[in-house]
Symmetry: C2
Subunit: 724 residues, 2 copies
């Protein structure tokens, strides 16, 4: 009896990520307008209609500004016009700061004046009622019809710091953000966007563009990401999101950022929310919607942060510092114990605290005899007394190995400005000689000293463990960006999937035709036919009841294993048919399935597909048994994908070691498994609208070189189809 | 055939945690001295010998101060004496700020002057060389001989803020810490202790006592914890440690803090360090030394923080706020999305975002029609315009349910002092009506407003997720403290453990006599004896080769299962003996073991013991198979312990659901399992010096009510004994 081999497809041809890129040019009038009208401009400081006018003045916006206010001649030094029709020239951007009922008419008038973009502050739309939702829908239709891009409604607006544009009533644009920032922000929530502006003020961080999208009648988070991806000033993109309606657009935007080599750091809420609909299949219950976001964000080369602090620290680090070029980290500390803590954090984050050579250790001990010299390097409290020696020690470290990052802990040594600047000068010199390394220091640092560090490209953190953890996260993200995107597999050919519930044989045959390895099985209507089938296949065989209505065959005694003779098959087939009739009198019985008995050994895995309402078909992989059932240890990818992603899925589950072989079992044929995942992803992509879910369980993976095989499968057709 | 039942012992009698408490009275001269001499006092500001004198002046220390300096008449306004002998009256505390070679003589002179405690700043001891280690040992012996308590050497010293005592050269005691602090600090590292003082200055936090222990010739971290446990002013104890030499003392100190109802938050470095010695047994390799600390800290009711930020946030929270009295949390936000983020964090931390009743939700929507009313309560941006309405909403929430905690997110609403104080007043009113709740707000908060919140017992965090995570951690710690300590099991009776390697039968019999359930097995020297033994036990049986030198019996074909007749047993015994002789000609063969064949079903678990060099015998529990092998999913406890701890161990492994029954398997007999863990812990405690490790694998747990049984066991005698 031969084990079926996985039909390993050649790496499927790459297809371009998308043929129609998101139209970022249409966002230029929004973020780079030559002229701005503020409808509902107010002369009263602090009012929603006043803040953007005041801010345009504050930031010395170089274009034309037209406050629309029937009662004032002037608003914050700009000549007011009584109505939109009176604006003397064409406008690019309209800022709408009037109550909801007047918004549509105002937009029409602005469009007539040539406006190509609008920011709608007004609330009272989809966030309050069904009527509001309808009114918002009209705004969306108007935007599409007139080619006008709309931010909002119910949005806090946008800003382009370098261009002097603040089209927002957020109070945190004063004091003025400095030009020359590196961080682009896209926030779905205005309140959160304002909060982040405040965080940035406190941290001395400036934005390139600051975009809040509000109710997203038109412009959504994906548009903002795509715009920032092509914005030369933006070096890192921070995204806050609650959810996306169009997964494909989000994927496209993230891929644009990856293609531009720009890190995207996403804060997505709803980490623990479980999708409301109870999912029919096993796979669906394992792949909650949030897990889908998590998978898609990583698959597109972006990074999902697990806390606000982590998210913002990454923005800070990419703005002022350099991402580590490799995983080797050097740790320089005035406290041995804190060195251990930093090494803990490095190991947790996947960085390697490479020990120094004996020669380098000797050189360090020549400078300070009781220094810890291995890495972490404990320069001891003597450091402050001999900064030249300290500089020499750091140079010994960096000359020893091309460390991608170096993190220092000064404890309190630099807490006074005088000492702080003396230490800072040492690091500035080091930075000049090592322009590509991630350099961060931690400990007590006065604000002025901190600014000097940052100006020199050295990061400053209060806590040493955070400094190391941030290096690890940057390294991970930078590595994803440096890799070419995974070649995307072409979807397979659409299959002829019946609308009715599929039995095991139908499901396996479909998957087999899609390239998944499955055994040579026969359907037999009678015990006699079963015996003939067994003779064709070769003994020993398995006989199983065949019915789309009986999911747990073993439970009703519907499976007979290891049958060695035609007579045994005949008897077994009769028995299982009888038991099925007794146990499930209403079930549709399609006869019995005769399959070759699989050899012992092999690792049981589970492959699955669910169709996510936002991102489409998602492929799931996990190990059979407790790891999936109890620990929920699964990997997910958006379909279709290539072998590289499939290999990554296999490697990223927590139980991956099982496939490498534990306690003397041989390593499993992970290449056959990867090929099957690719084939399943292509099948799922080609049939996204025909299926609801697929479960291949178990998918048995034999030792390396011996292939793999799907032993059972359930395909649930899309709901609309099954009902037909 | 009957399944052996676990011999469930009655809850073993409680024994007092320790008969000799750590002598905290001896630390009073150190932290509450009436007089202080500074040996090596300097008039040069910033010098090590100058700072403590200047600080005693700064803090207006009310006792006598004697700077010892042969060249100065006065040091920072205190009259100097030329040498120790010239000190005019008895002293309590000596601060030694001179080079190492003079330290011993200075200590002797100070002791002659009545000193009962000393702080030794001097470095050059165990941290630099073997000679230094010897000199330090002399200090330790002197301390014991003269009843003098010594901090250091190589220590940054101690401070007692309320008493005006700063016996430290740490530069961060200026500006002056306010009296009336709540946080006691014990840090093994001076550099880290200074860094924490700086963090405290930045956060507006004050210490009760601040203790750094340096090289720990005498006073160690455990002493500091014990002292703070009995210090009335200290409400929370922050501990930084690198390691303990005496585990029993640390346990005793932590238990003193628990008995006093004081939270202890520990930052322990070395999280990822794996013990250097490769451990002989399976269990040892799973229980690295750091995992032992982790387990012991929790077992003693303390909390181990995973980052500096988490650790310090907990100190801040216990200092200014109230620990949640229960797990119900209310979330009040101006941003719906951030409400979801807070709910995520609550769920992750084990808090329950209890939904409001329909009636309460209606009342909230009466105040703001489009408010999110379920919990999280989204008060919307309207809140600032109607603070009375906001207060009503918060009151509706708190009247609805006895929420243990309530966390607000203001985003930027309170960023200006005026608005900030208006919102703060609302929370202050709420706080007055709900004095026991954990109340924290987050968002942009000016420093003056923050101080007002804190004065009212409301915590302020920058990030909303941190505010929720801190509530969850406090709740966990408070719950541990509120519980009575787990009754500690008495150690069992010492057993007669042979010094040679034990075979399976000897090991199982020893454990059986200690109260672990094990099958009724017989040793047989010959096939004929095996057949007779089987007849006594009853069929079916298992026959296994018996040898202390053959660990993996199955691998050499040394196990025969399910033998139903005497003849089958005879043949099997002959075969396994033959195979063993062939496979391991040098092995000591002790015959064969005849055991009843166990019924199918049951969950395979692993119980183990290792003897930790610091904490003594530790009991390990995990599930058989991949969960232990691949995921390292184990629970650890210091032996001996009672049923409560045993139940907690069983519940805390990640795979605990397996024992509750998955996919139709019945729940396992966890009470029998818990009883076995208790019995094993008592055996381990009674025989700590006789064993190196114990492995009970598999320990089979049958369905509820049907007991459990040890199927195999390895006991490795302590190294010194096995060699004898």
């Amino acid at each position: 009896m031969s084990v079926p081999r996985a039909a390993v497809p050649a790496e499927p041809r790459s297809v371009p990520p998308a043929t129609t890129a998101i139209d970022t040019a249409s966002l230029k009038p929004l973020l780079e307008p030559r002229s701005v009208a503020i409808v509902g401009a107010s002369t009263v400081p602090g009012k929603i209609g006043a803040i953007p006018v005041a801010m345009l003045r504050e930031y010395a916006f170089p274009g034309e500004v037209f406050p629309v206010n029937p009662k004032a001649d002037e608003v914050f030094g700009y000549r007011a016009v009584p109505d939109i029709a009176s604006i003397p020239s064409a406008i690019d951007l309209a800022v709408i700061a009037i109550p909801a009922p007047g918004v549509m008419a105002a937009l029409e008038s602005c469009a007539d004046k040539g406006a190509k973009a609008a920011v709608v502050f007004s609330s009272g739309f989809a966030e309050v009622s069904e009527e509001g939702r309808a009114a918002q829908q009209k705004l969306a239709e108007f935007a599409r019809a007139r080619g006008l891009r709309i931010i909002g409604p119910n949005a806090l607006g946008v800003a382009n710091i370098d261009a002097g544009l603040v089209a927002s009533f957020c109070p945190f644009f004063k004091p003025r953000f400095a030009p020359g920032g590196a961080v682009g922000l896209v926030s779905q929530s205005g309140a959160f966007g304002g909060y982040v502006a405040n965080l940035a003020q406190d941290r001395g961080l400036s934005f390139t563009k600051w975009i809040t999208t509000g109710n997203e009648a038109d412009v959504e988070v994906a548009d903002g990401i795509a715009y920032l991806a092509q914005d030369p000033a933006t070096r890192v993109i921070l995204v806050y999101m609650e959810g996306a309606r169009n997964g494909a657009r989000l994927v496209q935007a993230l891929e644009m950022a990856r293609a531009a080599g720009k890190p995207v750091v996403v804060l997505k809420v709803g980490r623990t929310a479980v999708g409301a609909e109870a999912a029919a299949s096993h796979t669906a219950s394992l792949a909650g919607a949030d897990a889908v976001y998590e998978a898609v964000i990583a698959q597109c080369g972006a990074y999902r942060a697990s806390s606000i602090a982590e998210w913002f620290d990454l923005g800070y680090a990419f703005a002022f510092g350099k991402a580590p070029k490799n995983n080797a980290i050097a740790l320089v500390t005035v406290s041995g114990g804190v060195g251990v803590m930093m090494a803990d954090e490095a190991e947790t984050g996947g960085l390697d605290t490479v020990p120094l050579s004996a020669a380098a250790q000797d050189r360090i001990r020549e400078i300070v005899p009781f220094a810890g010299a291995r890495n972490p390097v404990d320069v001891t409290g003597q450091m402050l007394g001999d900064l030249a020696g300290f500089e020499q020690m750091v140079e010994v470290v960096l000359a020893e190995h091309p460390f991608g990052s170096i993190v220092g802990f000064n404890a309190g040594a630099g807490h006074k400005e005088e000492n702080g600047f003396r230490i800072q000068k040492v690091w500035e010199t080091v930075r000049a000689r090592h322009p590509d390394a991630y350099i961060a220091i931690s400990g007590a640092t006065p604000p002025a000293v901190q600014r000097a560090y940052e100006a020199a490209g050295c990061l400053v953190f209060t806590a040493p463990d955070t400094a190391v953890a941030t290096a690890a996260r940057m390294a991970r993200l930078a590595a994803r960006l440096a890799e070419a995107p995974s070649p995307i597999a072409a979807p397979g050919a659409p299959a002829d999937i019946p609308a009715h519930a599929l039995n095991e044989h139908e499901a396996l045959e479909l998957l087999k035709s899609a390239g998944l390895p499955a055994p040579d099985v026969r359907v037999a209507a009678t015990p006699e036919a079963a015996a003939r089938a067994a003779e064709e296949i070769g003994f020993p065989v398995v006989v199983k009841i065949l019915s789309p209505d009986i999911l747990h065959k073993s439970d009703i005694g519907g499976v007979a294993l290891n049958l060695a003779t035609a007579q045994a098959v005949r008897e077994a087939a009769a028995t299982v048919l009888e038991r099925a009739r007794a146990a499930a009198p209403d079930a549709r019985l399609d006869g019995v399935l005769v399959a070759p008995m699989m050899p012992k050994g092999g690792v049981e895995t589970i492959l699955g597909v669910t169709v996510d309402p936002v991102f489409g078909p998602m492929v799931m992989f996990g190990l059979g048994g407790v790891l999936v059932e109890v620990m929920g240890d699964v990997a997910l990818r958006r379909a279709p994908f290539g072998l590289k992603e499939a290999r990554a899925m296999i490697g990223e589950i927590r139980g991956a070691k099982v496939l490498e072989g534990v306690r003397g079992t041989p390593p499993a044929d992970t290449e056959a498994l990867a090929a099957a995942l690719v084939a399943l992803s292509r099948f799922a992509a080609a049939n996204a609208d025909r299926i609801e879910s697929i479960d291949v369980n178990p998918f048995l993976v034999f030792p390396k070189g011996r292939g793999a095989v799907a032993l059972d499968a359930v395909i649930v057709p899309a709901a609309g189809r099954a009902a037909s």
